[in-house]
C-alpha cells in the first residue's frame, strides 16, 4: 500500500476522516497539518502576496483589466490568480449600532456626533457631524500613521476591509472527492494539490468547489489553484505569499497552532470593541470539516465574497445515489411494463 516515502498507493476519499485528512488519505507518520491563518484586520491591501505567488509558482498574467471595483483589479481567485486581495469600502453612518470609535481600532466613525476632541490615542478621534451625512474622499495616504494626527482631518465615516483570499484546503474537499482522474490529491501536510501531468481538464472540480476557487485555465485546459507552495513547504520553507506579507496578515504554520493564535486574536479584537470580528473556516464541525486556510473577518463572509455556510457537496452523495437507484428501478419497471402491458 505504501512506498518507502510513506506515500499512499491508493487515493482515499477525503470524506473519510475530518480529524487528520493526511492520515485519512493513507499517509503514514504524516507531519502536522499545515495551513494559513489570514488575519484581515492587519491586511493593508499591498498585494505583495498576489505578486509573490505569481513569481514563485510561475502563474501566467491575466492581462490588464481595470474592473472599477475599488483597488481590486484581480476580481476573484482564478486559474491565474491563486491569491486575491479583496477591497471593500464601507460606509458606516453614525448610530448604526456599532461600537464607539474609541474602541474601534479600524476607526469606523461612530463618533461623528461629537464635536470635541476626545483624546489622542490611536483611534480616539473627535467626530465630525457632517461626515455622518455625506460620503467623502478617503484621501491619499499621509506620511504618518493614521489615527495619530490628533485631528479628524481627512477621516470620514468609511472603513476599508481588505482580505487576501486563497484556496481553503478543506478537510473535506469537494474538488478532491469528484476528481475522476486522481489528479487532485491530499498531501502529507493535509493540503490539496492538482498534479498538472495528470489533470485532463474535465472541469468537475470547478463546479464542485463551494468557494469558487479552483478554475480551468483558458488555453491550457487544465485546472489550477493554490498548492500551499507544496514545493516550498516540503523543503521547510514558508509559502511565498506568507513570506512576502509585510504585516503578517498571512500566517503560515501548523494548523493547531494557528487556530489557537486566531482564537486569541479574535478575543483581543472583541475586547477592543471590534464586535464584528469573527473567525471563518476555523471550525472542524462546519460543512467542509474546517479549512486548512482560515480567516479572521471584520464583517459577514459574503461581504468579502465568501459563502456564509459552505457545504461539501459529497455529504449528500449517498442520498443522491439512492435517488438515482430508485429512478433507475422506475426506468426498468417502465420498460418491462411497456413490453408486457399489451399485445401490440
Amino acid at each position: 500500500m505504501v512506498d518507502s516515502r510513506g506515500r499512499p498507493a491508493v487515493p482515499a476519499p477525503s470524506t473519510a476522516g475530518a480529524a487528520d485528512p493526511a492520515t485519512a488519505a493513507g499517509w503514514v507518520d504524516a507531519p502536522p497539518r499545515m495551513g494559513f491563518f489570514t488575519d484581515t484586520s492587519v491586511c493593508i491591501g499591498c498585494k505583495a502576496c498576489e505578486v509573490a505567488c505569481k513569481e514563485w509558482n510561475g502563474v501566467p498574467t491575466s492581462g490588464l483589466d481595470l474592473l472599477g471595483m475599488s483597488y481590486d483589479n484581480t476580481g476573484a481567485l482564478t486559474a491565474n490568480s491563486w491569491r486575491h486581495v479583496a477591497f471593500v469600502e464601507q460606509h458606516r453612518p453614525a448610530g448604526d449600532g456599532s461600537s464607539p470609535v474609541a474602541e474601534h481600532p479600524t476607526g469606523t466613525s461612530c463618533a461623528a456626533g461629537t464635536t470635541t476632541a476626545t483624546g489622542t490615542e490611536p483611534g480616539l478621534l473627535p467626530g465630525r457631524p457632517d461626515a455622518a451625512r455625506a460620503p467623502e474622499f478617503l484621501g491619499m495616504p499621509a506620511a504618518g500613521p493614521p489615527g495619530r494626527t490628533g485631528s479628524a482631518e481627512g477621516r470620514g465615516d468609511f472603513r476599508w476591509l481588505m482580505m487576501s483570499d486563497v484556496c481553503k484546503h478543506c478537510t473535506r474537499a469537494g474538488c478532491l472527492d469528484v476528481c475522476p482522474t486522481g489528479a487532485l490529491f491530499r498531501t502529507e501536510f493535509g493540503t490539496v494539490v492538482v498534479q498538472e501531468d495528470i489533470c485532463n481538464g474535465c472541469g468537475y472540480c470547478v463546479s464542485a468547489c463551494p468557494y469558487g476557487v479552483i478554475d480551468r485555465r483558458v488555453g491550457d485546459g487544465r485546472a489550477w489553484k493554490c498548492t500551499l507552495c507544496y514545493d516550498r513547504i516540503g523543503a521547510g520553507l514558508t509559502p511565498a505569499c506568507a513570506q512576502a506579507c509585510p504585516t503578517e496578515s498571512i500566517q503560515y504554520g501548523p494548523l493547531d497552532e494557528l487556530r489557537e493564535r486566531a482564537a486569541a486574536r479574535v478575543d483581543t479584537l472583541r475586547a477592543r470593541g471590534e464586535s464584528q470580528a469573527r473567525l471563518y473556516g476555523h471550525d472542524p464541525n462546519d460543512g467542509v470539516g474546517g479549512d486548512g486556510a482560515f480567516f479572521l473577518l471584520l464583517d459577514e463572509p459574503e461581504v468579502y465574497g465568501l459563502p456564509p455556510d459552505p457545504q461539501v457537496t459529497t455529504t449528500d452523495l449517498p442520498a443522491m445515489w439512492r435517488r438515482a437507484g430508485l429512478a433507475a428501478l422506475a426506468m426498468t419497471a417502465a420498460a418491462v411494463g411497456a413490453f408486457l402491458g399489451g399485445r401490440r
Partner: protein
C-alpha cells in the same frame, strides 16, 4: 474619486432579488450582501457538449431498453432500431465527452482510478462497460449480410447469440447510464443542481425513456410500435412529474428553472412532451403521426436537458442563489440551537 458619489462597496452592498423586475416570484424578494455583485461560485466550465451528452446518453439508455424488449418479446424491427440508435448515440456521447475536456488527448486518464465519490469516475466505468456491449449488439444486426461460408460465415453464426448477450448486458447497464448523469450534476456546489438531487434522476430517467420511445416511434411501423407508445407515456409521466418538482419544490432555487433561457427551454420541453405523447396515443394508426410524435419526444428531451443545464449555470452565476439559501440555513440552525 468623486466625493458626491456613494462608495462603490456601498452601492453594491445590498442587492434585491427582484431587481430585474417584471418576473413573478414565489418567494419574497431576498435581501443579501455580496462582493460587488460578483458570483461566489465558478459557473461550470462545461459547454454545450455536456448538455448534448445528457441527451445522447439518455437516448442510448432508452434505446437499449427498447432493443432488449424487442429482443426478448420477438420484435426484430424494434430490436434493430434500438440497437442501431444506441450505438449511434453512445458514439456521439463519447465524442462529445472527449471534446469537452480541457485536454482531450488525456481522456484515458479517466481510467486511472475508480472513485465512488466521483460520479464522473463511476460514469466513466458505466460507459466503458456499456459502450462495447451496445456496439457489439448493433454490429450483430449486420450478421445476415455476411456470407454463409468461410471465416465470415463463422462470424455470421457467432454474432447473433453474441449480440443477444451484448444486448441484454447493455440493457442491464442502461438504467445506470440514464440516471448517473443526474448525480453527476447534483454532486456539485451549483445551487440549483445540488438541491435538486432528489428530483433530477427522475427527470433524466423519464427523459431517457421518452427519447428511447421516440426512436421506436420513428423507426418502427405504427402497428409494431405498441411498446414504444407505452414507454413514451411512462417516460413522459416521470419527466413531467420530476420537472414539475424542480420548478416548484426548491423555493428560491426553483427560480432558475422557471426564468430566462432555462425556463423557456423547459417550457418548450414540456409542450413537446405533451404533444409527443398525445400524438403517440391518438395517432397510433398513422405512421406519419407516430413518427412526428417520436421526433417531438426526441426534441423534448433535447430541450429539457439543455434547460436543466442552463438553470444550473444561471444559479451559479448569481450570488443570490449561493448566499440566500446558506443564510437561511444558518438562521434555521441558530433558531434550533436557541430552542
Amino acid at each position: 474619486m468623486n466625493p458626491d458619489r456613494a462608495a462603490v462597496g456601498d452601492r453594491f452592498r445590498r442587492f434585491r432579488a427582484g431587481r430585474r423586475g417584471g418576473e413573478e416570484l414565489a418567494v419574497p424578494p431576498a435581501e443579501f450582501t455580496s462582493y460587488y455583485g460578483r458570483p461566489i461560485l465558478k459557473p461550470p466550465v462545461w459547454t454545450w457538449e455536456i448538455a448534448a451528452y445528457l441527451f445522447t446518453g439518455g437516448v442510448a439508455a432508452g434505446s437499449s431498453l427498447l432493443a432488449a424488449g424487442g429482443q426478448v418479446t420477438g420484435r426484430p424491427r424494434v430490436r434493430r432500431a434500438g440497437r442501431v440508435a444506441a450505438l449511434a448515440a453512445i458514439t456521439a456521447s463519447a465524442g462529445l465527452l472527449v471534446k469537452d475536456l480541457g485536454r482531450p488527448e488525456r481522456f484515458h486518464h479517466m481510467l486511472r482510478v475508480a472513485k465512488p465519490t466521483s460520479p464522473m469516475s463511476m460514469g466513466t466505468w458505466v460507459l466503458t462497460a456499456y459502450g462495447p456491449a451496445a456496439g457489439l449488439a448493433a454490429v450483430a444486426e449486420a450478421a445476415s449480410l455476411l456470407p454463409t461460408r468461410g471465416p465470415l460465415g463463422l462470424a455470421r453464426r457467432v454474432l447473433p447469440p453474441t449480440g443477444r448477450a451484448a444486448g441484454l448486458t447493455a440493457a442491464a447497464l442502461a438504467p445506470a447510464l440514464g440516471t448517473y448523469t443526474a448525480v453527476l450534476l447534483a454532486d456539485t456546489a451549483v445551487p440549483s443542481w445540488h438541491e435538486a438531487y432528489a428530483d433530477l434522476p427522475f427527470v433524466f430517467a423519464g427523459s431517457a425513456l421518452a427519447s428511447g420511445a421516440g426512436v421506436g416511434l420513428l423507426a418502427v411501423p405504427a402497428a409494431e410500435a405498441g411498446p414504444a407508445r407505452r414507454m413514451a407515456v411512462a417516460g413522459a409521466g416521470l419527466e413531467l412529474f420530476g420537472a414539475h418538482r424542480l420548478e416548484n419544490r426548491l423555493g428560491l432555487l426553483s427560480e432558475p428553472y422557471r426564468s430566462g433561457r432555462a425556463g423557456a427551454l423547459l417550457r418548450a420541453g414540456r409542450a413537446l412532451t405533451v404533444a409527443g405523447v398525445a400524438g403517440a396515443v391518438l395517432g397510433r394508426r398513422s405512421r406519419l403521426v407516430s413518427a412526428l410524435s417520436g421526433a417531438a419526444l426526441l426534441a423534448a428531451s433535447v430541450a429539457t436537458r439543455f434547460g436543466v443545464f442552463q438553470a444550473g449555470v444561471a444559479s451559479a452565476r448569481d450570488p443570490k442563489y449561493t448566499v440566500v439559501p446558506q443564510r437561511e440555513r444558518l438562521d434555521r440552525r441558530a433558531a434550533e440551537s436557541d430552542r
